[in-house]
């Protein structure tokens, strides 16, 4: 059985034009009508290639690239109240960048696979990253670079990769193997913020489930936001780049098993906290002191499908994480000190497919600190001993998923900080896509980012893939 011929690009353009013209004249089919159907038209619309990308051809056939231009600006900005009065921050462009994303995958004989993905970004005038004294006007990232070898029961992956634990999409307390970077408000979802790390990962597949283990000999940490970013913290001292003075490592193991209607997993890991804690500078210094902290993680994750409803649950118990404590004083001016404590965290979510094209998900994550050690005197947690956040997502797909409308709401449970994102992503064709987002933030004065209160941002991104 052969594969039909592949029409050239010009042919496809003519076909597309004919379809557009025809579409302007055609009435919609009514329910009661009988009609004829000739499927010859789908021969004209054959995929650009019927040959699997990894099967034959040169290496360039396995290379894909996406070029994009993104801008984001303010529609409204926070008004800061100072002793001198109310200061209205300037409106204008906040993000203006070009990017190129590359992806390459090559399958070799004997089950070896090489995969690499990377990004190049160039910052343009008007954006906070342009002409930034702390960094050049362009950056490159190597996201993935790994070799994978898979046999009948085993698979080993060596290189820069991600490992995702937990079931609650976007809000899992177990999804902490990899670091994240929320550089600015253009990155909303955890999936987009996840960064890769150099690791070796091993999977053993059997009827009793899958056992996976990893070792990370160079743990990385969540990078600080770029100076000038709306997420850059305003602190009285400088936060230096975290520098390690000794060899660090992380390791973990997970067992997964699928039952009818459910997937379950238990895991244990020795990890470093992704967010580096900073102790106040020593006397006479201006730089805060980074604290690398390792801890033990024990976890459970599971899901349960009930009809169109999917329930998810993640539980993480962490022993010896750092929490900030300060002496109990009425004026609250004492500097915090970090003490190891235990943390019980859980995230629970539900996903519901309202229709073929509309989906809704809701999740809550909460954590509670207890059992602080090495505390002397009258100390209390700087933050509440229990805190959490919620994530609500709604998406509606149209035109066979060419147009996706989505709404996201993230908020701390106490309401101090919240973000709403309305997005429309339009896949114009296989090559071009256009996305827009409207971001509204609200923050209390005592929250981590009071400068985000009442901010409204509007952005767009145009991309071309080939």
């Amino acid at each position: 059985m052969g594969i039909c011929g592949i029409p050239g690009r010009h042919t496809m353009q003519r076909v597309a034009l004919a379809h557009v013209l025809a579409g302007s004249m055609l009435p919609a089919a009514s329910l009661a009508q009988d009609f004829e159907l000739s499927d010859d038209m789908f021969d004209e619309a054959e995929a650009s290639s019927s040959t699997p990308p990894d099967a034959t051809g040169s290496w360039t056939d396995r290379l894909t690239m996406e070029l994009g231009h993104q801008v984001l600006g303010h529609l409204n900005r926070n008004r800061q109240t100072t002793p001198d009065g109310i200061i209205q921050q300037a409106h204008g462009l906040e993000v203006n960048r070009l990017s190129a994303n590359l992806r390459f995958q090559e399958l070799y004989d004997n089950g070896w696979l090489l995969r690499a993905t990377g990004r190049i970004k160039a910052y343009l005038p008007g954006g906070y990253e342009f002409d930034n004294s702390a960094r050049p006007d362009h950056e490159t990232w190597l996201d993935e670079l790994y070799l994978q070898r898979s046999g009948s029961d085993h698979s080993v992956t060596l290189g820069r990769q991600t490992i995702v634990w937990g079931e609650t999409v976007g809000n899992s307390v177990l999804d902490i193997i990899n670091t994240t970077e929320y550089r600015d408000l253009t990155i909303i979802d955890l999936e987009d913020a996840r960064r890769h790390q150099w690791m070796v990962n091993w999977d053993w597949f059997s009827d009793a489930g899958t056992i996976s283990g990893f070792v990370n000999l160079y743990p990385e940490f969540n990078p600080l936001p770029v100076v000038g970013s709306p997420l850059f913290p305003e602190l009285p001292w400088r936060l230096p780049t975290a520098r390690r003075d000794e060899a660090l490592f992380e390791t973990g193991v997970r067992w997964q098993h699928s039952l009818p209607g459910s997937d379950l997993a238990i895991m244990a890991a020795w990890l470093y906290e992704n967010d580096v804690s900073y102790a106040p500078p020593a006397a006479g210094e201006t730089d805060a002191r980074p604290l690398f902290n390792d801890h033990l993680l024990l976890g459970f994750s599971g899901n349960r499908a009930i009809g169109r409803l999917l329930l998810t649950l993640d539980i993480a118990y962490s022993r010896n994480v750092l929490a900030a404590y300060a002496p109990v004083r009425e004026n609250g001016s004492a500097l915090p000190r970090y003490h190891p404590t235990d943390r019980l965290a859980t995230s629970a979510g539900l996903e519901y497919a309202l229709t073929t094209t509309r989906q809704f998900s809701f999740s809550v994550a909460a954590e509670k600190f207890s059992g602080a050690r090495h505390i002397h005197g009258n100390l209390q947690l700087v933050d509440a001993d229990t805190r959490g956040n919620l994530l609500l997502r709604y998406s509606q797909r149209h035109l066979n998923e060419d147009l996706v409308l989505s709404a996201t709401l993230q908020s701390e449970l106490d309401g101090d900080l919240s973000l709403a994102n309305l997005a429309a992503d339009w896949r114009i064709n296989d090559d071009w896509s256009l996305g827009t987002q409207l971001i509204v933030t609200r923050a209390e004065h005592d929250s981590l980012f009071p400068g985000l209160d009442e901010d409204v941002r509007l952005g767009t991104r145009l991309s071309f893939s080939f």
């Binding site: 597309a16 619309a45 054959e46 650009s48 999409v169 229709t355 066979n400």
Partner: protein, 307 residues
Amino acid sequence: MTALSNSGAYARMLGGAGILLLMIFSTSAQGNEGRQIMEQVEDNQRKLTQAAFNRVQLSSCRYGLQNNQITCADRPRVKSLETVQINIGDAQRDTRTISIVREPAAENGVGMLSYTYDDVDRDNETWLYLSALGQVKRIAAGNSEDDHEPASLFGSEFTTEDQDTGKLDDYAIRILEETEISDQAVWKIEAIPDEDRMRKTRYARVVHYVDRERHVVLRSDMYDRQGREIKRLMASRIEKINGVWTARSLTMLNLVSNRLSNMAIREINTDIDIPADFLTTRTLTDSAYRETELRRLRQQIDSRASD
């Protein structure tokens, strides 16, 4: 058995028999015994879903009518897929299907795994892998107790509800009449879900047109609870594969949204040596394993062709 009975191997690509199943035909249809026709349809269909490796093109567009002819009103969006399926279970009546997107390049590697069970008491299961999420996600998309549609398959008008295997016991099946469509003599067969199944399906009634000469379902009309026809499945390019007549082109028209999807089977290869472990969630995430096994399957087909 739901509305989507379709032909052969790619029927299972969607995860199942359902409407697709009925698009195959009975070799022993007798009189107006609709149930027997459907049972035979399933038996024949399984001949094409046993250890099958297929290449499928999925095209979707908005449609309109021109001279009573359905025409795409915009340029169709096309995905090419590779699908692998096996029958399992004591009576080989359950099916496991995995579908991998090959084109467009930006979606290459996106996969869907479906387990469809013949047992009426056992819901089908589906997992999806999206590289953006970095993990396999169980899809809760079917068998809900309302009248909405379940999840779409790769953005097409085919849905996961069409994954249901036969489950004939859940339906009242009867032949309505013997008639003709497109100059072909057909049985017009009605399938109405019972109370339990009604709660799990959007299709309150399905009418199939089974070619009496070639025993192929040429068309299925799906109705909602208000009696409105909401979808229509049309089959064409009827060919005999492994001794079984089957439709190599299926078009699902959504009569509410005026959009359609065409599923064209470019290749059907059956009785391939497929390891059962390939039809597990591992294949969704383990790229090296997936691509190595797929390469072996392609080599089997190539060597068979050269013989």
